[in-house]
């Protein structure tokens, strides 16, 4: 029991901080650059990503372990996982619109964008590759999403400040955002070695 909790703690810290999906693994950069212009937007995006990421990893984990591995259909993985995610996003959108309109208004515009968010697909692949149990996959996907949101909100905060700064002409726009990301990544390097 004790070792199990320890393993879960290890997964949380390493997925959220040490191997931060954006700053250490370079996955999910498009929404990171695209959705980080204001803190409010980035929190909405983080919520939507967390929601879909957890759902997608549960569904794909169950499909993988109970259908694909027993039937020997591993080679279909890429195609099926991406279709599962696309369908799931549509389904979530319809359900939210119908039942929880407030939440839908808060994160509705971010949902379609998530289909092609590589972070979601990557987490479903990694959860299967690492051979996690269902509980571990849930914890893993929540912590990855937490790391994603932290990085996104941090960058959004920096970008809001940057708007008031006098940036050299050719560094305006994306270049300065990447320099800020570079500094964030250096900060996150400090977590290296925290988990063996």
């Amino acid at each position: 029991m004790n070792t199990e909790i320890l393993t879960l703690l290890k997964i949380i810290v390493s997925a959220a901080f040490v191997d931060n999906i954006i700053l250490a693994r370079y996955i999910g950069l498009c929404p990171y650059i695209g959705m980080s212009s204001s803190v409010a937007n980035s929190i909405g995006m983080g919520m939507a990503v967390t929601f879909v990421m957890v759902l997608a990893s549960i569904v794909t984990w169950v499909l993988w372990n109970y259908i694909f591995v027993p039937l020997g259909l591993e080679y279909l993985r890429i195609m099926v996982f991406i279709l599962v995610i696309a369908t799931l996003v549509q389904l979530v959108e319809i359900l939210l619109k119908k039942n929880v309109p407030n939440l839908y208004r808060a994160m509705g515009i971010y949902l379609p964008l998530i289909t092609t968010n590589c972070a979601i697909l990557a987490v479903t692949f990694l959860g299967v590759d690492y051979g996690y149990t269902l509980l571990q996959v849930v914890v893993y996907s929540i912590s990855v999403a937490l790391g994603f949101t932290v990085a996104l909100v941090l960058l959004a905060g920096i970008r809001e400040r940057l708007r008031m700064a006098r940036v050299p002409r050719f560094w305006q726009g994306y270049p300065i955002v990447f320099v800020a990301t570079c500094l964030l990544a250096i900060a996150f390097l400090g977590f290296k070695g925290l988990v063996k």
Partner: protein, 200 residues
């Protein structure tokens, strides 16, 4: 026809370079560009998937109902990605291992989906192939340009052959994520600067 072919090919190389101008397909660019060898492998994989799926999507563009076009595009793209993934695993295991999860992630590489949606689903096959080749080569060009700098300063080697004297220590920052982010920032700033210079 030939003139149009070259026009669309060149467009992807510079004017609308997918990585530096349109800001798409960034993940794999930064992740894989630690060594030039990996860059060329990734470039070849993207060119293959992009060209084949653009050709197929352009060929079937008149039969695809508008409402379900996105899932159909996804199926086409993921078919070719699966082919690349399995072939690389079988014949180039070290390269496949070095690129890891980024081969299957080609399927969500925004470049391919964006070109399918914006170009291949509207234009005849020949032009779609021209556009795909241009975008693919433009992508490979940028990823290799970043890879050369990172491998040179990070390991002191090019294509795994030593360039600097043995005593060279290697800049860890270039291999680690911060170096990649800084380099792409510098490249975009340089491109902005040179474009401004050409205009004036």
């Amino acid at each position: 026809m030939m003139r149009e072919f070259w026009y669309h090919f060149r467009n992807g190389l510079l004017g609308e370079n997918p990585v530096l101008k349109l800001m798409i397909g960034l993940c794999s660019v930064l992740a894989v560009s630690v060594r030039v060898e990996n860059c060329l492998g990734m470039g070849a994989a993207v060119i293959f998937v992009l060209t084949c799926s653009s050709l197929v999507i352009s060929l079937i563009r008149n039969f695809v109902p508008n409402e379900v076009r996105i899932p159909i595009f996804i199926v086409v793209i993921s078919t070719f990605t699966t082919i690349v993934d399995l072939v690389m695993k079988a014949y180039l295991p070290p390269l496949s291992k070095a690129m890891g999860i980024f081969i299957p992630l080609i399927v969500v590489n925004c470049i391919i989906m964006a070109r399918a949606e914006a170009f291949a689903s509207r234009k005849p096959p020949l032009l779609a192939v021209a556009d795909a080749l241009g975008m693919g080569v433009g992508y490979t060009f940028v990823i290799t340009a970043i890879g050369v700098v990172r491998e040179l300063f990070g390991y002191g080697e090019i294509l795994s052959r030593p360039v600097f004297p043995r005593t060279y220590q290697g800049m860890m920052a270039m291999i680690l994520p911060p170096g990649a982010f800084l380099l792409i920032g510098i490249y975009i700033a340089l491109l902005n600067w040179s474009l401004r210079k050409v205009k004036s």
